[in-house]
Every structure is written in C-alpha cells, then in structure tokens.
C-alpha cells in the first residue's frame, strides 16, 4: 500500500552489470511485472527493492521515504522466492505465523490471522503438515500465505509459478491476480514468461541486459513495441522480423529476393532512412490459396495445426516467415500459397539502433 520509486538504480557485481540506471515509478496497489530473459537483472531489481542487495548507485523510495539504508526486516515488504523458502522444521501454521511471531503479535491475534489467511488460500486442512509433505502447488500457497499474513506494504514475487506444472500454473495465474486485487498491496512480479506477464500485469516492465526497454500496459507493449527486442520478446508466436531497405524513389521496401510497395502515408515517415527491419505479427499476414493483388507467392515449409488456427511457416523466395491463419483445409508441404501483409499493422525499426520508427 505504498508507491515505489526507483531513481537511477544501478547494481554491479564486481565488474558485471546487473542493473543499469533504472528509473521507474510503481503506483500504489499496482501489479507490475518485471519481464525479461534470464540474466536481464529482473531478480536483482527485486532483491534491491527487498533490501537483500545494496544499490551501487541510485536510490529507492517507498512513498517519500528513501529506504537505501533500511534493512529488509524494517521495510515491511514480503517476498515469495522461486524455491518458496519454506522453513523445513516448522509446520505450515508456524510458517505462516512466523512473521507475526517475530513482530510480537499476541497469540490470539496470530491464530485468527493465520486462520483467515489459510481459508482465503484454501489451505485450512494443511496447517498441521510439514512443508515436505505438501505438493508444489500447496507449498506455493503456504509461501504466499506467509507473505500476505502480516499485511505488507509491498509484495515481491520472484517467478512464483515457475516450479508448478503447466495446468496448475494457469490456474494460479488467475488466482494470484484476484488475490492481489483483494489484498490491494503494491505487487512486483518477476517472470521470464511473457504470456504469464501479459495475462497478469497491470503494467509490464521489459528489461534486457540490465537496461529498461519499455514500460507499458500489456496492450501497449503488444501493439506498439518501442524496439526490436520488445517486439521479438512479446507475443506468441513471435513477430516476424525481416531485414529490408527502403528505396525512396520507387516507394518500395526491398527484401533482397522480393519487394513490397508501401502506402503513401508511410513514405514520409521512412524518408531518409534506408537500413530497416520490418516487423509483422503472424496474425497480420493473410494467407490464401488464390492469387490477389499485391500478394506474394510463397511455398509452405511446414504447417502446424493449433486447434482453430494453423501456424504455417512459409518460404518466400528464400525468406522464411510464420503466419497464423484460420484453417485452410489440406495444406501440404511445398504447396504454393499467396500471402499479403496487413500494412496498417506493420512495424518498422531502424536496423542499427533497433528503435521503432513506426
């Protein structure tokens, strides 16, 4: 129940950069997801906020208070580790009650609170068990219960679902989101799974190599990625990224083996740049069996049915792209198809800087 502000936050381990110059404001009661590939600095950022690591440079504010010199035990944050870190020598009840005991709550208060939390997480029946007698999903709930028990200002979750099986992960995802809105504590959630991030987050922070790439709502990141990294990281199946150059006098994008004519409004934006990357999501590519105007000839490399849709990998004169299309019956390998790009949904990036142009 507090706002978190990171100011020029930087952390080096020796000469290894983990987080560089991170500026971020996390709103009160918001669920924010730190997303990035492993080693991108997301867990380090979380540990910095928890107070388990000291920033090399920069400051962390909880509300108006600078917490740089506050030890973890006084920050009123809770954290769920990826391994859950349940205390193996304590029963579930004592695990959940532990932070309350340390904070010297009275016995009846502790009992009431633990029972309340347990019933919310539906683990009332497990209070007498020890952690090693629980399944992964149950352990996860206990860890969450312990984190929520003492009403923390900030809840930190480090890949909380990574150790669960796929089905349970999906179920817990929704439940976590609900719980967070119920408890109303500012939550920072770390994951490398973009689908998880998209489904749970109010806002997503994409990190790579310790640097902030983009902050925004899941829709913003999906529809308007700021650079090639975000574009390639977000979305399933991943966005097609094709190297091309802009030939201004003809108003076309040259891909080497084929060219595409671009609409007039794009010409002005692209004027002056030549080395580009065109990005297009597989769902924005139209595939048909008949030739249409402006469509390109392509050969089917492989087709994978996804239920209602089909993921088709196509070969356009040596360049491979992926397209998702509603089921076209009997697609065979090496069959000839016609594809066209939805130019309104195309993203254009500067190949050198990786920044988005359109």
């Amino acid at each position: 129940m507090v706002e978190v502000r990171l100011e020029n936050l930087t952390k080096y381990f020796g000469s290894v950069r983990a987080v560089e110059n991170l500026n971020l404001k996390i709103n009160n009661e918001e669920l924010i997801v730190l997303l990035g590939p492993s080693g991108c600095g997301k867990t380090t950022t979380l540990r910095l906020i928890a107070g388990l690591e000291r920033p090399t440079k920069g400051h962390i504010y909880f509300g108006d208070k600078c917490v740089d010199d506050v030890p973890p035990r006084l920050r009123n944050v809770s954290m769920v580790f990826q391994s859950y870190a349940l205390f193996p020598h304590m029963k579930v009840f004592d695990n959940i009650a532990f932070p309350l005991k340390v904070a010297r709550w009275s016995k009846t208060e502790i009992e009431n609170r633990v029972k309340e939390i347990a019933s919310m997480l539906r683990i009332e029946g497990l209070l007498d068990r020890r952690p090693h007698e629980l399944s992964g999903g149950q352990q996860q709930r206990v860890a969450l219960g312990r984190a929520l028990a003492r009403k923390p200002d900030i809840l930190l979750l480090d890949e909380p679902l990574a150790n669960l099986d796929a089905k349970l992960r999906e179920a817990m995802r929704g439940e976590l989101k609900r719980l967070q809105k119920e408890f109303k504590c500012t939550t920072i959630y770390v994951t490398h799974d973009q689908i998880e991030a998209m489904s749970i987050a109010d806002r997503i922070v994409v990190l790579n190599n310790g640097k902030l790439q983009q902050v925004g709502t899941p829709e913003e990141l999906h529809n308007a990625p700021k650079n090639i990294f975000v574009a390639s990281f977000i979305g399933t199946p991943a966005m097609n990224l094709l190297d091309c150059s802009f030939i201004e006098e003809k108003g076309i994008l040259d891909f080497g083996s084929f060219t595409i004519k671009i609409p007039d409004d794009m010409k002005d934006i692209l004027s002056g740049s030549s080395e580009l990357v065109l990005g297009i999501r597989p769902r924005d590519i139209k595939v048909s069996k008949d030739k249409r105007s402006h469509s390109l000839e392509a050969k089917v490399y492989v087709a994978e049915p996804l239920g209602e849709e089909m993921l088709i990998t196509l070969d356009i004169k040596g360049i491979r792209i992926k397209a998702v299309s509603t089921l076209i019956p009997h697609v065979k390998i090496n069959e000839k198809l016609w594809v066209s790009f939805n130019m309104n949904k195309v993203h254009i990036f500067n190949r050198k800087s990786g920044e988005s142009i359109r």
Partner: protein
Amino acid sequence: MRGEKSRLSRSLAEPGIKIIGYIVLAFMFIYILNPFVWLFLTAFNPHGSPFLELPENLALDNFIAIFVGTTKMGAAAHSIYMATWIKNSLIVAATTMFIVIVTSAMAGYALSRLDFPGKNLFMLGLLLIGFMPSLTKLLPLYKLCIIFGFVNNLFGVGIIIASGTLPTQIWVMKGFFDGIPRELEEQAWICGCNRLTSLFRVVLPAAGPGVMVVALMSFLSGWGNFTVPLILIRSEDLYPISLGIASIFTHHPGEVGLVVDYGVVAALSIIYMIPSLIIYYVVRRHLLKIRLARMEVR
C-alpha cells in the same frame, strides 16, 4: 565368455572360500567382542572376578552397589565415589557440549556466510590445530588453567576439552550451514529477523541434524576424556568416571589396600559405555551426512 566367467566366480565363492571367509569373520568377531562379552558377564555376575566365567545367576547387584553401596565386606566406600564420578562426568560432558554448540554454531555460521579478510587463513589454521595432538598444548594450557582457576574445577575441565574439539566441530558445523539455502535466511530477514535471530530461529533449527551430531559428539568427547581431568583434577570426589576407573587399579580411593571388586568396576564400565551406545544409535544416520566443507579458494 561372460557366462563362463560368472560361473567361475560363483564356484570360487562357493563352499571352500565361503567357509574360510566365515572362519576369518568369526575369529575377528570373537577378537573384537570378547572384551565386551567378558565385561557384560562380569558386570551382571554378583560374584564377579577378574576371570572370564559364566555367572550362576544374573543380577543387578553390582549396579546397585555403585549407587547405594554394598553389604560386601570392605567395598562399601567405593559407592560414595562412584555415584559422584558419574555426576562429575555428566557435568564435564554437559559443559563441553554447551560451549561447543554455542561457539561452533556462531563461528561455523560466520565462516559459511560472511566474507572477511583472512578467512581462508583462519580456516586453514583451525584445521591445523584440529590435527595437532592435543597433548602438545598441555603445558601452556596448564599454566593458563592455574591463572583462571580451572584446576580442580569440573567446568574448567569442560572448557579445556571444548577448546580441543572446537576446531573440528566448527568445520563440521560450517559444512552443515553450507548445505542450508541462503534464501531460507533471506526469507527470515524479510520476515523481520536480524542476523542473530535468524541464526537461532531459522538456520540452526533447519540445520537440526547437524547441530545434533555436533552436540552428541562434543558430549562424548567430554564424557570420555581422560588426559585433561588427569592433569587438572586432584581430589577424588571430583573424578569423572574415566579417572575413577583408572584410580581403582592404581590406588583404591578411600580405603587403601582393599581388594578390587571387579563386578562393580565392570558395572561402572558399562555405565561409562552407555552414552556412546545411545549416541551411536541416534546419530548413525546423520553421521553419513557430515561432509567437511570444501575450501573456497578465490
């Protein structure tokens, strides 16, 4: 080929070799167990003597004699001392255990978790001291004991024994701490603990088996030690069992010139042995887990 070979090895292991193996084993069995059998038979024989003999009837007379004395002519005085010897041994062992646990827990924790200048040197030093024969340190230790008033003092004896076993136990404890995930501790900090409370509320209990092994091993080293009390303890009423048993044969406490009552001595030896047996039984699973932590050289 393979079939032939296995048939060969099977035939080798069959009758002849096997019987020889059993004979060797039986011989070793007798060789090792003979003193114990002798001891047990004598301890439960009301008329125990220095000779191996089958008792006519088994009875606890000798054990009773240790605590309440005996009607046997001239042997009564032993009991006054023997009961106190047991008590003294317990005091020494408990003192040793207490000091070793508290000290090795904190030192082992520091070595496992903290970085400080000279850490590796310190650990090598500990190892070296642990390997040295304890008698080499006795002269300076004796001088120190006089200064601190440890002479003729059971707690002093415990402290000195603890100082001897500590280096090894610190290493053992460090090994156990190394096996406890750091996250457990970090979780404790986030839950509101500081370093010391997290050590005693989370890390030590989580290292339960390790702490128990260290506790029991240090208890035994205090219980069984002979040399340290031999040098520091003067009065017979402060003897621990080890010194007491020896003294029965060198001079008879209380009443010089009496005959040694072998039955009672055997019974006392059995009592002397009991902690080892219990502790072996409890610890045997955990003993396997002791692994000396590898040195981290950077």
